[in-house]
Symmetry: C2
Subunit: 216 residues, 2 copies
DNA sequence: ACAAAAAAGGGTATATTTCCCCTTGCCGGA
DNA sequence: TCCGGCAAGGGGAAATATACCCTTTTTTGT
């Protein structure tokens, strides 16, 4: 058996059913072998640190994982092993995450409802040409470039204020919690309402949750 | 080949990579064959209605799907094909969903990070004995029975009001939107604040999002 | 027909929102 | 060096919106 001629793939995914099944699917393509599987970014990085000379052709990296998630893992890879090729896998089509994975060096981003045919094409494409982007992802990249100019950036204090605003505290209570005059808080609120194009505290709460400033 | 002696399994899951891979995994167990795969509850039900005499030993049903999700599909099965055995598959350990799937007749509930060994055991168990519950699920069932007495139930109008309260509308606007007097809205609010043990509209918004009454 | 809900109202105290103005300190260009 | 600008922090006052009482009228189910 000429196993050593096959492309070497690593799967990092906490869904054991998925990762083990996916290994079988990849095997069925013929040209690839799955040399390792890990259930989160932490154990994967541990492995890389102890086996830094292993030949790896491609990494399939899940985005949502416990312990160390795909994004953090991608950041580590960017800093420590930028040579490795990664395709991110996720059920999640959240634009922000996708953009972050790609800016951190992912060579492709596939949703888990991708067909096996496209999946195979993506693997081949990334190994051969270095990248593979679906229309969804390309669209987001373009969208991103076009809206990069007027992007909203929140200061640290504003973030703290927003978090407090997403509780049942009154503004007065928030002010004393943050050791500021209620009037300053008032100023924060006004400038945020203006910046975020909202009109009420309810709008602020919805914005905060939508943009993951606070969690529910 | 004695294919006709194998147990017949159907997979319903929108994640094509997963469902196709899972089919390979199931095949590798030896005693089973995947006779059909569907990508949402709708096409699965369509199939059942046109092939109501097909022999099916087990259905693996994903919970989160587009078009018609696992819960709705389970409800249809309960009403129309209570004879079919279903194992629900999900990444989601939300207690409410799990309980609902089981009260609608699911014979098992597995998270997708289950190991293939447990998965195989669960399949065998459901086909042979009729059910399989992990500790997680059993724990929830017990928990459920113990806390069933004082559960909060919201009326239809209250739900509608809550949805409106999660926007930047004022109560006055909500009243006219719902064709009610502002005072009636006032009453809704008060009774909800009381029932949900909250003190402000912000609290109501947070409750609504946490309990999936509204989506962000 | 009667009790229980649902709907609506009155009144009042706070909270929130909005607008416009003031100080202080810091930074960059003329 | 001086000066304008600008950002952060704070203020007054007024208009609305919210929150919390408690009462009355209408519907509704049985």
């Amino acid at each position: 058996m000429k196993t050593n001629l096959k492309r070497k793939i690593i799967i990092v995914d906490d869904h054991l059913l998925f990762s083990q099944s996916l290994e079988l699917l990849i095997k069925s393509f013929g040209d690839y072998e799955v040399i390792e599987r890990f259930e989160n970014g932490k154990v994967f990085i541990d492995y890389l640190e102890e086996n830094n000379s292993t030949e790896i052709d491609l990494i399939l990296l899940d985005v949502n994982m416990p312990v160390l998630d795909g994004l953090s893992t991608m950041q580590w890879l960017k800093d420590n092993r930028p040579d490795l090729k990664v395709i991110a896998l996720s059920v999640n089509d959240d634009e922000e995450i996708i953009i972050k994975m790609i800016t951190n060096g992912a060579k492709g981003y596939l949703l888990k409802d991708t067909s096996p045919e496209i999946f195979k094409e993506a693997i081949e494409c990334v190994i051969e040409k270095g990248f593979y982007f679906t229309e969804l992802v390309s669209g987001m990249l373009i969208n991103k470039v076009n809206s990069d100019n007027k992007k909203i950036c929140l200061k640290e204090k504003e973030i703290v204020f927003i978090k407090h605003a997403c509780t049942e505290m009154t503004y007065k209570e928030i002010a004393s919690e943050m050791c500021l005059s209620p009037k300053t808080i008032d100023g924060y609120r006004e400038s945020l309402f203006d910046k975020l194009e909202i009109k009420t505290r309810i709008g602020l709460v919805l914005y905060a949750i939508k943009h993951k400033i606070v969690f529910v």
